[in-house]
Amino acid sequence: MESRQTSALSPAPALVASRPFKLRRNGLPVQIASRIGSGLLVLWAAVTLSFVSVHLAPGDIVSLLIGEQLRTPEIEAAIRAEWGLDEPVLWQYLRYLTRILHGDFGRSYLLQTDVSQLVLSQIVPTLKLTAAALFVAILFAVTSAVLTAGRRIPRSIAGALELTLVSTPSFWLGILLLYLFSFTLKLFPVSGDRSFSALVLPALALGLPLGAVVGQVLRQGLERALEEPFALTVRSWGTSGLVLRLRHGLRHAALPAVTLTGWLVGSLLSGAVITESVFGRPGLGRVTVEAVLGHDMPVVLAVAILSAFTYVMLSTLVDILYLLLDPRLRDEGREAAR
């Protein structure tokens, strides 16, 4: 009897396994606070790492930050002042931390502009695209999983469709969508970011492959849940199959799917680069590519810290979602104390 345990939940990969410590005898708020705290710790480490990497990189810091811009005494003096290069390293580090905390990511000498402003102006279209793509992905995944789980023929059709979507590069999907809906049917604009309708095709191009991956995991989870004894109990109450899937099964299936979605949304940022190019959209992706190509270090650093921030946020969000989805995890600390 003692060997009986709740093993319904398979150990989830990295995002959840990264929980660094476990507090005992506590409620949901404390557990959430601890997740947020550990997220902040990771963020601090990322910022520190970016500082260390600038100092450890070969060559002097000034030429690293200038990039391909012409080196003049004025610019050099500005950089020295901004980074406090004449002061001790510890002082420089504290100064760097304070600056980042105030949202000041320095200046791009290549583009002659403040990095924060540059990033802020470009992040909105990217966030719009990512959010729309995520919406498409979830809608596709849930619909496909709920309608086809455990049904032999629909399942293999959906499986084939998902495989096609996953293996189609998103720029190719984008071009196909453009050809069909913009050039031929003239339903949506070809490029730009002026109206809501301009968002539809890029969101589909980016979201459908994502939805296909999540859909497969969701369907598997749903099928596993429908095999569980409780599914029989629920049906014995006279509950319909659809209600069983939506109200009971989906929540069980969501546990692994949430982890995966968290990771994939993080990768959407890099995926957005190509999609943004295909649809001629402004966005963070293009800024990053140009900064890397032009050795524009301040922008690259800002994007690196920003993406660390994104992953930390998503990972914390996934952890919290797990706690909300599965009450058994909330009691984990108490069980361990028993």
Binding site: M1, E2, T6, S236, W237, G238, P327
Partner: protein
């Protein structure tokens, strides 16, 4: 008397392209209102799928010459019609509410589902009804329980909550499929009492079980099922006292108890060769060879607590002689498994010592213990999870021989010898664990444990996941091998019948303490502690 269920010539099949895979071959089943009927048989007999067919959830191809439920001909039923019947005409209870209730939803939400008002927020009148319902199945403080999740309830409360969901819409018939199988004896008794109350109140009940002893007290009529057929049917009293079919006899004999001590529970394997009257009588087990002078295991003053909690094991002491079987009996959470872990050296006691063969065993480094490990073997409850799924049976058994330095062709010879010893034979060498039945797996586990010829065997609930009839074979095998090898046995179980049948001395544990100890006959014949009496009282017994 109204007939609730009237089925003639029921066949159930899971056809594929090649075969029709029939699992039930033309059975008749009639249930009258107010009656309690029991369907008894081992796993694979088709009893559970028959029960599921009654609510249209078998997922199989069903045929019958007549199939009526509460006057409706259900043969032409579509899913919509079935849904109207489920919950209102027939309620359904599965075993083990930990997995039979949705673990992610509160009790209140599940009751609302069962009442037919699903939703995240529970309506006030539904909540009112839920509270009354929980009270009616004997759940105290229902307001608190409604807000909890299944895993937060004790096993007994959980099973009561599951029963509550099944009777929410007052069905005319309640089907209980192994309703008490995963439960401790005292909790099992509570659940059976609850079902008995319903029976007293005139409700109709269909019980499904592998254990005749469990249904004996409740059922008016028993149907014995084997290989998809009903081999015997009749009033409970008659089935129990004058079973006509040898299989019924076998099921009755399989129940371990005081009466079965020293005798086999299962018929001899070469049954056909024996004269028929020999099958009627119990065959004796080989005598044990207990060497009281040689103490194999000695534990004194064991203490263990985790974190800041109460002691899980509190001042436990015992000795075990060569060839002797010592039983540790107690319910979930009594600390008996922790004792096993301490003896195995997997958990260090906070204080107290363990001596193996007179030598210190606890508080030693693993390097020091390593060379002596082979003399101590474990049989776990769930054999399947104690095997590497990618190993063949040969490798699984052979692995334990590696530790005593038996390799190559000699190893293979010994493995075959072991497999013959557990009545599986050389044909099982290349099988994988998932290809084996529950009983076969436990045989392999027993073979693996005996293979290195250990001095001490620790068996932690080795038969509690098995059907009575399979359990009977496994217990017989264990008893035979133990008698032949003279191995000392530490046998942990929550089942008093099994302990009484198999062991020589017993420790009764409760909340980490030993409340009573002594020779099995003395302790069980004249229990001194009230807890032992309560445990004994809870054992379902054949009259």
């Amino acid at each position: 008397m109204t007939t609730l269920v009237d089925i003639r010539n029921l066949t159930i099949a899971f056809p594929n392209r090649l075969q029709d895979n029939r699992v039930v071959h033309g059975i008749d089943l009639t249930i009258h209102e107010g009656e309690t009927v029991a369907l008894v048989g081992e796993s694979g007999s088709g009893k559970s799928v028959t029960a599921r067919t009654l609510i249209g959830l078998s997922g199989a191809v069903v045929g019958a010459s007549r199939f009526e439920i509460a006057g409706d001909d259900v043969l032409g039923f579509r899913e919509r019609d079935w849904r109207r019947l489920r919950g209102t005409k027939i309620g359904f209870v599965l075993q083990d509410a930990l997995v039979s209730l949705d673990p992610l939803r509160r009790v209140s939400q599940q009751l609302a589902d069962a009442f037919g008002h699903p939703g995240y927020f529970v309506r006030r009148d539904v909540r009112e009804d839920s509270r009354a319902l929980l009270r009616s199945v004997g759940i105290p403080d229902p307001e608190r329980r409604l807000l909890q999740y299944p895993h937060q309830l004790s096993g007994g409360l959980r099973q009561r909550a599951l029963i509550a969901t099944a009777i929410a819409r007052q069905p005319s018939l309640l089907i209980a499929d192994e309703p008490t199988t995963a439960l401790d004896a005292t909790v099992q008794k509570q659940i059976l009492d609850l079902l008995a109350e319903r029976k007293q109140a005139g409700h109709t009940l269909l019980l499904i079980s592998h254990d005749l002893a469990v249904v004996a007290r409740l059922a008016d009529r028993v149907l014995v099922m084997k290989h998809g057929q009903i081999v015997e049917e009749g009033p409970t009293k008659q089935i129990l006292s004058k079973p006509a079919h040898p299989y019924t006899r076998q099921l009755l004999d399989a129940v371990p108890s005081a009466a079965s001590r020293g005798f086999r529970l299962s018929p001899a394997t070469d049954q056909a060769a024996l004269p028929t009257e020999a099958v009627e009588r119990r065959l004796p087990l080989p005598p044990k060879r207990i060497d009281a002078a040689q103490t194999v295991l000695s534990a004194s003053g064991l203490m263990k607590r985790y974190g800041g909690g109460a002691a899980v094991v509190n001042n436990v002491s015992f000795d075990l002689a060569a060839g002797e079987a010592l039983g540790i009996v107690g319910e979930s959470g009594s600390g008996k498994t922790t004792v096993a872990k301490i003896v195995l050296g997997l958990v260090e006691p906070d204080s107290g010592t363990v001596l193996v063969d007179g030598q210190p065993w606890s508080h030693r480094s693993e390097a020091e213990r390593q060379s002596r490990r082979a003399s101590m073997q474990l049989i776990a409850q769930d054999a399947l999870s104690s095997f590497d799924p990618r190993y063949t049976v040969e490798k699984i058994v052979g692995e334990s021989l590696d530790t005593v330095g038996v390799f190559g062709s000699e190893r293979r010879r010994r493995v075959i010898q072991v497999l013959d010893g557990v009545r599986l034979g050389a044909s099982f060498l290349d099988r994988y664990p998932r290809e084996l039945s529950g009983g076969q797996r436990q045989r392999v586990a027993i073979g693996r444990a005996f293979a290195p010829r250990p001095k001490l065997l620790i068996a932690d609930e080795p038969v509690s996941a098995l059907d009575v009839s399979v359990q009977a074979q496994v217990l017989d095998l264990l008893a035979e091998l133990q008698a032949a090898s003279g191995t000392a046995l530490l046998f942990i179980s929550h089942d008093l019948g099994v302990i009484h049948h198999l062991t020589d001395r017993v420790l009764v544990m409760k909340d980490g303490r030993v409340v009573e100890t002594g020779a099995v006959e003395t302790v069980f014949a004249a229990p001194k502690h009230s807890y032992t009496r309560a445990l004994l009282d809870a054992v379902p017994a054949l009259p």
